[in-house]
Symmetry: C2
Subunit: 303 residues, 2 copies
DNA sequence: TCACAGTCATACGGATTGAGTATCAATAAA
DNA sequence: TTTATTGATACTCAATCCGTATGACTGTGA
């Protein structure tokens, strides 16, 4: 069964006339007759009872009419939906992100996207950087937001800057240094330093280590949690001090004190990553929206 | 858009291979390539990303896949449904019937039909005979069950006997004759007779009149209700006596007494009627079931 | 490294399909 | 009765679509 004969059938059923149906479909009456005859042969049933003057639909024809109408409508809709999917206006989108770096802007960014692409089902996943890489492998996310990726991944992934942050010192409230307005790196030589796990941000981790080395000390690293919130919790517990992106101050910070580091100007980057090849149209749409939003994101983070 | 290319598309999407799809569809690979190319041209989008080694579906292709699958399935189902409709196994059926004549067997008959034709939506309408004729005109019923039709309608309608009943006398319980075991027509010369409206059963009405005339009296007809229940109510109210089919004894009969008429052997027929031309398949199915059920109906009425 | 096997795309020829023309039979209206 | 219109049918021709042959490309295995 093909759709063209079904269109003829619907025209005949609607207009109750083979000739009129032919005129409507910009063809000739014998073509319509053949379409109907072919359908009737395929179905083994009369669809119309026609003498040369009147055309009456049969019970079988009535049934086919309802089905054929729906089928043709769905065929039309399928075309539109496929085209929308190609434009990223329809489909699904899965985004993984570092909560510590994204909590301030992700809700608004997603809302922006949703208002412009209401038919895209967007799924959000809080993930560490290494979880994101795993999720890329298994196609569980289309887009990941985290720190810059290690060198060797920068060919398979494309990255785009969302905002830049600075480093801050995080001390326990009761710490001896906690009353100062700012601090210098040299002051930290004797401190136990709590750093996040290296895999979560290789570049940042290494540049912090380098920073210490430039000030002629190797930090006493007492733990490497995966989650920034854990870093803060450990600081609050008095287990050490942390050097972390300032954005962590948006997390639960009870018992922590944040203090600028005078002699550091490290730029901490938050980037959006996606596979360089075969970017889903919905993901492309998200990338566009996010790119447009960069100035606004930078603002919202500093506020 | 036609269905054949969609079938090719689904095969390719399923097997992730043009060649394999061709084998599955008993055709050759270039045909598949052309189908996909045609779809892609019509939709203005790539459906697959293929190098000569791998075939990957695109987001647009994924969307089309879900839609196309549904469309093809519905096309198959449409064929089956249309054929079922042609066999009377699917559709609707509207039956009008005289409640007084049918109450005893209609529920079971409908249940028989429904168990054999579960996908037919059957509608029941209590109707007088004249209401049935009107309903036939406006296609509100396919089948009517009532008394034999007047002669002039017996060409446009086909009728089939369901059961035969006999006449009975209905008297008020307090009537002078109410204590007798049976009665003869001659005994009724002085009685006011309540008869149903002539249009509701022309033949029966006239044969009752003739019956009286053969016994040399014209009945004093005091009213002609359309509904048999009204006849009984009027008898119970003492407004007269009635001659009616025995089946009315299944109605609400308080205040009425039924009495055989010794010298009458009139056969009261209950028939199923339908238009001689263009009988809906569902109606044909019902007619068949009803025909098979005739012996059983006859029994159920006499019980 | 190279030949091979298997992929999809493309070009071409032929068969099939399908549309359009002409015409017929039937029927309602004039 | 005539006329106009309907749907069915026969026929012709054109478009389409299939199948074959072939090419370009790429993993695979020797």
């Amino acid at each position: 069964m093909e759709l063209k004969p079904l269109k003829s059938f619907i025209a005949v059923a609607t207009l109750k006339s083979f000739s009129a149906a032919a005129r409507e479909l910009h063809t000739v009456q014998p073509a319509i007759s053949r379409h109907i005859a072919a359908l009737e042969k395929e179905l083994g049933t009369l669809l119309f009872i026609r003498n040369t003057r009147d055309v009456h639909i049969t019970a079988a024809g009535r049934q086919l009419f309802t089905d054929a109408t729906r089928i043709l409508q769905q065929a039309e809709e399928a075309v539109l939906r496929t085209q929308k999917a190609a434009n990223g206006e329809l489909g699904s989108l899965k985004v993984g992100y570092l909560p510590s770096a994204c909590l301030t802007f992700i809700p608004d960014l997603v809302q922006r996207f949703h208002s412009q692409y209401p038919d895209v089902e967007i799924s959000l996943f809080e993930m560490t950087a290494s979880e994101q890489l795993l999720a890329f492998e298994t196609n569980h996310i289309d887009i990941g937001i985290s720190r810059p990726l290690p060198q060797e991944l920068q060919t398979t992934f494309t990255s785009q800057l969302l905002y830049t942050d600075q480093l801050t010192l995080v001390l326990p409230s009761q710490h001896a240094l906690a009353q100062r307005q700012s601090i210098r790196l040299d002051d930290l030589r004797q401190e136990h330093i709590i750093l996040f796990q290296r895999e979560e941000a290789v570049g940042l981790f290494d540049s912090i280590i380098n920073l210490c080395q430039r000030h002629h000390f190797s930090p006493h690293i007492s733990a490497q949690p995966k989650h920034m919130q854990t870093v803060l919790t450990m600081v609050a517990a008095g287990l050490g001090v942390a050097i972390a992106p300032l954005c962590v101050s948006k997390l639960f910070t009870q018992g922590c004190r944040f203090m600028p580091i005078e002699d550091d100007h490290t730029q901490v980057l938050t980037q959006m990553h996606y596979r360089s090849s075969r970017l889903a149209p919905t993901a492309q749409a998200f990338v566009n929206i996010a790119s447009e939003s960069v100035p606004w994101i930078q603002n919202s983070v500093q506020a």
